[in-house]
Symmetry: C2
Subunit: 217 residues, 2 copies
């Protein structure tokens, strides 16, 4: 029979997966608010962030409790410390979704993203969502190989961000300063979301193997 | 007599203080590169970041070793977990300094910051440096009161960032898209450096008191 301690470790993993789903929704809805210029959805993303923050506190308290009371060693110790660090990353991803929603809200009833940049932003958002879904899979299955694949997906994000810069700094740009600044910051926010996904995946690799990912060497 | 374990905890704190000083130098030099349009200094900041990353790995390994071998409890446990989380924040501050240095390098022999925005950027950089110095003091002295003061300094940073946005989106802006995008991103980078300083200070408060800072409640 399993003991209460093993159940508690499982419940932290379940909470991390819930946090992953909340962040995935936040990014997806923030992008919807942005591309549709929808203030109601933007507000929902902004207020729903409190849920992500609350779950962070819950996971932190729970992890600390187990660290303090159970003197975990080896794999369990690494898992609890990794959880404490991963929740900070998820919380930041939630904050970045709020930043995207706030840019959407600021420009309502207009849409912050000029038509010709919509495909680039749509693709960046899609990649961010795919990466988050993969992070959920990686956490649920301790899938080290999938963590490695994530780094390749991240490269497309970097490429798209460079492309968005070329668009807004190009001679064809007719929208002036404000949309350019919006696009530059949005590119930064999606790129950072992707970076956090990569960083979480690396923590899972460390958790499973006890080593920093070899493809980083 | 003090034992080896206590000495090892002290040495982690010393390494954190070294990391603080390296980050302080990175921000100060990146700003110098930016405002003087100095490619040599920008390159130095970019290559010196490896030192910050190496110190991060060293502190992580050392903290993990103590967590694994010493089964620390209460204050020591919190200190080690806090160290693991603080090094991530310091590493990000180093990365943000590199981003600032890269904007400087991209515009050489020009200066990325238009003359009339120089005072705002200079002030943002000065605040970031003051905040980092305070973080060093807070870590060295477990100074909870100073951590609270830091939140007030951070408010000036937020105010300055809003001001830089008013400047670049105002009708007087004559510099076009590229410098506007640079200033928007620079504002974001300095603001994030300040956010990390606040976050580290909050971790020290948690370390000392065992409670989340009360002024957050």
């Amino acid at each position: 029979m399993r003991d209460a301690y093993a159940d508690q470790l499982d419940s932290i993993r379940d909470d991390l997966l819930t946090m992953t789903r909340l962040v995935e929704t936040a990014i997806s809805e923030a992008t919807k608010a942005l591309l549709d210029g929808d203030a109601t959805i933007a507000e929902q993303v902004i207020s729903a962030d409190a849920q992500i923050d609350a779950l962070r506190v819950q996971i932190e308290e729970h992890s600390f409790e187990l660290l303090s009371l159970q003197n975990p060693v080896a794999g369990d110790l690494r898992m609890l410390v990794a959880s404490l660090r991963m929740v900070s990353e998820f919380e930041r991803m939630g904050d970045l979704s709020v930043h995207i929603a706030k840019i959407a809200r600021l420009r309502v009833p207009d849409v912050a993203v000029p038509t010709e940049v919509v495909p680039t932003i749509t693709r960046m958002a899609a990649i961010a969502e795919v990466m988050i879904a993969k992070v959920g899979h990686i956490i649920a299955n301790s899938d080290v190989a999938a963590a490695e694949e994530l780094e390749q997906v991240d490269e497309e994000m970097d490429r798209l961000r460079r492309q968005s810069f070329r668009e807004l700094l190009g001679s064809d740009w007719k929208h002036g300063v404000e949309p350019a600044v919006d696009i530059a910051l949005l590119g930064r926010y999606y790129e950072r979301i992707a970076d956090h996904a990569v960083s979480i995946a690396r923590r899972v690799v460390f958790l499973v193997t006890g080593e920093q990912p070899s493809y980083l060497a």
